[in-house]
């Protein structure tokens, strides 16, 4: 878009021009070499307490201020040593033993000991905050000596190591936290008083410490002077609250921000100038459409054939183009591309003939109405209401009339978990690296969240017993067999036709040319310690 095309000789406030010239608006004043790195982001922070917060931005902050026992390597698959220098897993994946690195130190200089790890993990479990589910199935945490931690599970859990790399499992300086009101005992849910303290302080061993936090404004971290590994290149990082992609792109272009991670495809195209680099990489997030055969307001029975017809009617290619331009990929199954089990899955394709055929066989060639309620939000660059309007148009081609009703997120949530919604749409982002979380959430297993939402109580035939078996096997399987098991699970979930992923939007990382080391991490979103400035 050429500026000249748009101006076309209009007079625009010449009175201001003089004032502006006098003020010399344009570049930033010259500043010291070590200037803070600015990340423009829509912060969704619900808490800065590592055992209560649960959000994308929280992942960035927690992984910067707190070290976990193990880390996730740049390939987003391999586990690397962090606080734990080595670890062993017993044969049936029920006992995990970690040996702590004797060099590991907190930001106040004290050494990290096994008791800190025990305290932190127990607090995570007992606080019953949002990330507490990560400790489900943990039977006991023992610290036989100052450098060893032994965690035992109720049942085999091959996922556990991946979960340990999640930022919510960071090791907290138990002495400092307890001195400021934190509690980790069984009554922690009521006894702990430290949430407010965490809004202004961090007590970890990570490469950065919390400098200040102003809600809805900015989050500032500064380099941890006593960091026990290689010190980060940056001395200060600011995450600046910027609501929408357009504002983020503007800040990037004007040099007011160095990194913007939530710019969508369309806006990214408008960023001009050689100073900004835009990298498009596949992400693990996706947006999906879900059917609920057990929902109260269904006008017809959503049999497997009808569900398959609906899935076949969607114009997947068109939906991707519509929602994210070309900055997105097809997502065949609820297991995200790049996670174990996602290789070589059949891509979803539109097949209107087959859809019409299936509907005719079910006696529904005249079509039917379906209630489609969904949260009115824009996630990862996808505007759900625009996406659903396109879905509505696709379904109309096989005579299915989707009645769209956008809702606020909270209302949607109540309805989808209550009476159920026949056709809805929502998103998912990984909590940690591992495929079991997806099976546990999306598969039609008795008691599973989406099995409930799809109305297993009213339509018990949607339960897929094979998925339950496969999951148990996968959790107990050694690493080399997991891929095959999860792939089988993915194929089963595709067959269910309850969860129909639509698109996996690419992660668009836009940053200044001089910024190096920006990468997207499956566990931590954006590792701050790897970033440097030329």
């Amino acid at each position: 878009m050429n500026r000249r095309d748009l101006i076309s000789g209009r007079h625009l406030g010449w009175a201001l021009a003089g004032a502006m010239l006098a003020m010399g608006v344009g570049g930033l004043p010259a500043m010291a070499q070590d200037k803070p790195l600015v990340i423009a982001r829509n912060m969704d922070i619900n808490s800065l307490d590592p055992h209560r917060g649960f959000c994308d931005t929280c992942q960035i902050y927690f992984s910067a201020a707190y070290d976990t026992l193990v880390g996730l390597g740049p390939d987003n698959k391999t586990l690397t040593p962090k606080v734990a220098s080595s670890w062993t897993v017993n044969e049936n994946q029920t006992v995990f033993t970690f040996k702590l690195d004797p060099k590991a130190k907190f930001s106040d200089g004290t050494a990290i000991e096994a008791k800190d790890v025990k305290w932190s993990l127990e607090r995570l479990k007992n606080l019953k905050g949002s990330p507490a589910f990560l400790m489900d199935g943990v039977k006991s945490i023992e610290a036989p000596d100052a450098q060893t931690i032994v965690i035992s599970m109720d049942a085999p859990n091959s996922e556990f190591l991946g979960m340990v790399a999640a930022p919510y499992m960071g090791v907290i300086n138990s002495k400092v936290a307890a001195a400021n009101g934190a509690a980790a005992g069984a009554d922690a849910a009521t006894a702990d008083k430290a949430e407010a303290w965490f809004l202004a302080n961090s007590a970890g061993s990570g490469p950065f410490t919390l400098a200040s936090y102003r809600a809805d404004d900015e989050l500032r971290v500064k380099r941890n002077g006593a960091y026990w590994r290689t010190a980060p290149a940056l001395s200060e990082v600011v995450i600046k609250q910027t609501k929408d992609a357009v504002a983020q792109a503007q800040m990037l272009q004007s040099g007011a921000a160095d990194i913007a991670m939530q710019v969508d495809g369309e806006t990214a195209k408008t960023i001009k100038g050689g100073d900004v680099v835009v990298n498009t990489i596949p992400s693990y997030n996706y947006v999906y459409v879900a059917l609920s055969p057990g929902a109260k307001s269904n006008t017809v029975k959503l049999t497997p054939e009808v569900r398959e017809a609906i899935a076949a009617a969607l114009d997947y290619k068109g939906l991707i183009e519509f929602t994210v331009g070309d900055a997105g990929r097809p997502q065949p199954s609820p297991i995200p591309n790049g996670f174990p089990g996602s290789d070589n899955l059949p891509e979803p394709k539109q097949d209107l003939a087959r859809a019409k055929d299936l509907l005719a066989k079910a006696g529904l060639d005249k079509g039917f109405e379906i209630d489609a309620r969904f949260p009115n939000m824009n996630v990862y660059g996808v505007d759900l209401s625009q996406m659903m309007q396109k879905v509505q148009q696709d379904l109309a081609k096989v005579n299915i009339k989707a009645k769209l009703q956008p809702l606020t997120f909270t209302v949607w949530r109540e309805q989808v978990s209550g009476d159920g919604i026949p056709l809805t749409a929502v998103f998912y982002a990984p909590d940690y690296y591992g495929s079991a979380q997806y099976v546990q959430y999306f598969a039609m297993i008795q008691g599973g969240p989406w099995a409930k939402r799809a109305g297993a109580a009213n339509a018990p035939d949607i339960i897929n017993p094979r998925e339950g078996d496969l999951l148990k096997q996968a959790l107990a399987a050694p690493a080399d067999q997991q891929n095959k098991l999860y792939r089988d699970l993915a194929l089963e979930m595709i067959k269910d036709k309850i969860i129909i992923p639509v698109v996996s939007p690419d992660m668009i990382m836009a940053h200044g040319k001089a910024i190096k080391g920006v990468r997207y991490s499956a566990c931590c979103n954006l590792p701050l310690d790897e970033i440097s400035r030329n």
Binding site: R3, M31, S130, A132, D216, K243, S254, A256, T410, R413
Partner: protein, 337 residues
């Protein structure tokens, strides 16, 4: 007069209680569970986590008990804790108040200044081209949706022309000046930091102009009519001077009459500006009370919604009281009550 004042002051707590009750009723009528903002959507399926959160935030108590608790805390100045920011609502409001005040005051300067200018021009060139032009500009301002003109001006001045910076109070890289008043412009001047002052000012110009334009209409109209009155009286003065009955009386009379519309302006435009500020702050990412309210309404953060409603309502009540009293002081013809 005194009796009126006392009566008004006595009924104020009653009105305030009414405001609190309405605010409480509204936030608890909400469809949708505020818990989702606290613990996240996926955890809602876990009954243990849900129960713990409910207990922590007192959401498991019956409604009347929550009401009484709330009023009890309110009297001590405790507005509860925001479900979204996890900080005391009172603290949130205090932190954000200077931002909104700075914006509203700057907008008043623009609005009053521009309004007076336009009104004087309109009166001077009455019924000629300049009059119509000035009145038109002012009129457009009061008919424009503030959120649209904000977008438009932002696009023109920040993207197209690049004369002014984008949304926000200050450049992200700078630390705000040491907080004395909370106004970035004044604090920067007080600290002698002219670079920050300049940047804070340029960030303030667009939103202030967008918001100020909205009140220019009312102000310029009032200025125009009072100016016309004054001009008319000039002739009367001149005529009377020949058989003068006391120009001082007339001046006094005229001045006093001019005060009433002035007070109306201040009261009215303040209300108008607060309304407009809510939308303007959203567009310009201005971290004030307006954007706080919008965020609270969207996420069903009921302590925050209640807090803003109560504080906003009380402020209004006070402003109305002061305006009414000032009216009475200035013009004894005004019958109170």
């Amino acid at each position: 007069m005194l009796r009126y004042l006392v009566r008004r002051l006595v009924t104020m707590p009653l009105l305030l209680l009414g405001i609190v009750t309405i605010a409480f009723a509204l936030s608890n009528l909400t469809k949708g569970d505020p818990l989702i903002s606290i613990i996240g959507e996926r955890q809602m399926d876990n009954p243990e986590i849900v129960a713990a959160a409910k207990a922590r935030w007192g959401l498991d108590r019956p409604l009347p008990e929550r009401y009484l608790r709330y009023v009890g805390n309110l009297v001590q100045g405790d507005l509860g804790i925001s479900l979204r920011t996890k900080q005391p609502v009172a603290k949130d409001l205090m932190t954000r108040l200077p931002a909104t005040l700075e914006l509203v005051l700057a907008a008043m300067v623009v609005g009053v200044g521009g309004g007076i200018l336009l009104g004087v021009i309109a009166a001077r060139y009455r019924n000629r081209a300049a009059d119509h032009a000035a009145r038109f500009v002012a009129l457009i301002g009061s008919a424009l949706p503030v959120f649209w003109s904000g977008l438009l001006l932002l696009f023109v001045f920040s993207v197209l022309l690049g004369w002014l910076p984008g949304p926000g109070r200050l450049d992200a890289r700078l630390t705000p000046p040491p907080g004395v008043t909370g106004f970035y412009t004044i604090d920067a001047l007080l600290a002698g930091d002219f670079t920050t002052f300049r940047l804070a000012l340029t960030h303030l110009i667009l939103p202030a102009c967008v918001l100020g334009w909205a009140v220019m209409g009312i102000i310029s109209r009032l200025v125009r009519s009072s100016m016309l009155d004054v001009l008319a009286q000039d002739y009367i003065l001149a005529a009377r001077a020949k058989g003068a009955s006391g120009p001082r009386v007339l001046v006094n009379h005229a001045l006093r009459n001019a005060m009433i519309p002035t007070l109306t302006i201040i009261g009215f435009s303040f209300a108008y500006l607060i309304t407009g500020a809510v939308l303007t702050e959203t567009i310009f990412s201005w971290p004030g009370i307006g954007s706080y309210t919008v965020d609270a309404a969207r996420s069903l953060d009921y302590p925050a919604i209640m807090g803003v409603t109560i504080v906003g309502g009380s402020a209004f009540l006070l402003t109305n009281l002061v305006t009414d009293i000032a009216y009475a002081v200035v013009d004894p013809r005004v019958k109170l009550g």
